[in-house]
């Protein structure tokens, strides 16, 4: 250990109370940032996963331009082939097929324009929460035909109850008129008003008959085992489609493309989070600046003596910087360790938001929220504290260079 580092280390412990206070301020800031960021990232994971589980899935294969145009003629003609590609992708949890058509739905009294969605009852239950969202009646079974699941708000608007008949009138894939009568088998409520107000679900096979789909579907919906695998799965499926020579016809869309609103909400939340963190860091930075400045003022006479016996101003700066770097390092390491331990505890046990559990369960959301520790959530906060603290330390360290030995020694 060089003499400078030894001196710096001794200087830190010359006033243990002040140094410990400074170190704990830094440690606390890093701890808080590690926990808050992990919490934020964890809640995004929960948010995204529960949002995609209601309907869109993590990933969809569609015909090109179907997402914008929603034209019934833009189909995935051979869904089984896409299923084959998905089967080979090990990071995939489940997948299902869907077909959609905008149609008139009419009860005895009223008529509304809604989306009719054809679903594969067995596969759908593994991909989306639809089955859990049934509030009245039953979910579709594999051999159902003209049975429908109706959104709660739509059922209310149409004034229908379980067992009532609904007339469906739309246009088939071949341009012919698609018409049928379905029975209300179940009523679902997702908590997303738009979804509950504007959709009915019927079995996919029946949909394909009524709308002359000729075996085609509109969406192949896939769910990954975890959010972080999605880019990997997306590139694999895209490669698979290229191998099938379907590249010009089909596209793979991930949840960010399917739900641009969700990613915007997350970005908004991130920004407001960062504003809070910046305020926190600024407060910490000022308290650190204060202790560093005090350390210099208090030791003006000492620096004067050091300069007088031939220490260069550069060496003094180095000495002061070594002191602040060591304190910051100790603080950050303590902060990261303590923060990670606390976060890890909650990551294992989860945090129950009291009172909200009932509501959350009702909408198919997990009742516990889990923070998620990651390299990113640990390093961002610590990194920012590190940079800000060093910038703060720079000011007194450079101020020292302007000291004149005699004047400095004269001061108290």
């Amino acid at each position: 250990m060089s003499i400078d580092v030894k001196m710096a280390w001794r200087n830190i412990w010359r006033n243990p109370r002040r140094s410990i206070l400074t170190i704990s301020a830094i440690a606390f800031a890093s701890l808080l940032l590690v926990f808050m960021l992990s919490w934020q990232f964890g809640s995004y994971d929960t948010m995204i996963n529960s949002a995609v589980m209601i309907h869109t899935g993590h990933l969809q294969v569609q015909a090109k331009e179907y997402e914008e145009k929603r034209n019934i003629r833009l189909v995935v003609p051979d869904p089984a082939a896409i299923g084959g590609i998905l089967e080979q992708t090990s990071e995939l949890a489940a997948y299902t097929f869907r077909a959609n058509a905008f149609s008139l739905i009419s009860s005895n009294e009223r008529t509304y324009g809604t989306i009719v969605i054809g679903i594969d009852p067995l596969r759908e239950a593994r991909v989306s929460t639809l089955k859990k969202l049934i509030r009245q009646g039953n979910y579709l079974s594999a051999d159902d035909s003209n049975q429908a699941l109706v959104g709660k708000l739509l059922a209310k608007n149409l004034n229908v109850v379980l067992g009532d008949e609904l007339v469906v009138l739309g246009q088939g894939r071949d341009g012919s008129i698609a018409a049928t009568v379905v029975k209300v088998k179940g009523i679902f409520s997702s908590g997303q008003d738009e979804f509950d107000r504007s959709s009915i679900h019927i079995p996919l096979k029946y949909f394909q008959d009524v709308y002359a789909m000729n075996g085609a579907v509109h969406e192949v919906v896939a769910l990954g085992k975890s959010l972080e695998y999605i880019p990997e799965i997306k590139s694999r499926v895209t490669a698979g489609i290229e191998n099938m020579n379907q590249k010009d016809h089909l596209v793979v869309l991930d949840w960010m493309e399917l739900m641009p609103g969700l990613i915007q909400a997350i970005q908004m939340d991130l920004v407001s989070g960062f504003i809070f963190y910046i305020i926190l860091i600024v407060v910490v930075a000022f308290s650190i600046l204060n202790t560093f400045l005090m350390a210099v003022f208090e030791r003006t006479r000492e620096f004067g003596v050091l300069l007088a016996i031939g220490t260069t101003p550069g060496r003094l700066t180095k000495l002061l910087l070594t002191e602040s770097v060591s304190m910051t390092m100790v603080g950050i390491v303590i902060g990261i360790i303590a923060g990670s331990l606390i976060t890890w505890y909650f990551q294992v046990h989860g945090i129950v938001i009291s009172g909200a559990a009932e509501v959350m369960r009702q909408f198919g959301l997990p009742e516990r929220m889990f923070p998620r520790l990651s390299v990113l959530s640990i390093s961002i906060g610590a990194g920012i504290v590190w940079v800000i603290t060093l910038l703060t330390a720079l000011y007194p360290a450079l101020k020292v260079r302007r000291l004149r030995p005699v004047e400095a020694m004269m001061s108290a």
Binding site: L104, S106, T111, Y112, L169, Q171, S176, I177, A179, V181
Partner: protein
Amino acid sequence: MKKKAIVALVLLLSSSVVLCADTDAQDAHNLVEAAVNYYRGKASIATVDMTIHRPGWERTMTMKAWTKGQKDSIFIIIAPPKDRGNGTLKRGQEMWTYNPKINRVIKLPPSMMSQAWMGSDFSNNDLAKSDSIIADYTHKITGTETHDGKKVYVVKSMPKPEAPVVWGMQKLRIREDHVFLSQAFYDEDFELVKIMTGHQIQMLGGKLFPKVWKMQKADVKDEYTLLSYKELAFKQDLPGRLFTLSSLKASRR
């Protein structure tokens, strides 16, 4: 004395200008009403092929259409066999649609009126409000052209302030013998949305009439709907029972 004469002259002139403007608007209104009446007749029976054209896709269906006056009409699809018997009844501003397979009549809700009719480029509104051009708009003749040696009036139609219409402006081209040549639909920003044009003007049902109508959206090239009259007969009157829900449901006619 001189002053008085000038005042009198000015008054006379200004009042005649006002009168003139009034008669202009009246002329334009009369012209549009005459054209609509000419086009619809007192009552008519027609067989029409409707072709919906999309890039790489085309479909034709044949329907029979009865109209009476400016408000009532009924359309029944007769081909292809799969869609045979489907019908639409329009009375005033209200529309019903019937499907024989499920044997149900559905009244179209107001929210669906701007949707495509039978997947074509015509909206339900185009059908339900086909006479609204007379009632809901004020007209002005903005120019003249010639077509087949006949004079053509270009009419700019602006919706009345309280009128329940979706268009911001319409431009009509009407020949002096009251044949509609085109009807262009503009949005609130006066951007062209779609345009309907008449082609192959010939003797049909005892008068000159465009045999083919083409409705084309302004922003897409290869998408349009053609209406081609196979038969057309104008009548003095048709029985009112033709334009009822039970008539819509009666599959044999």
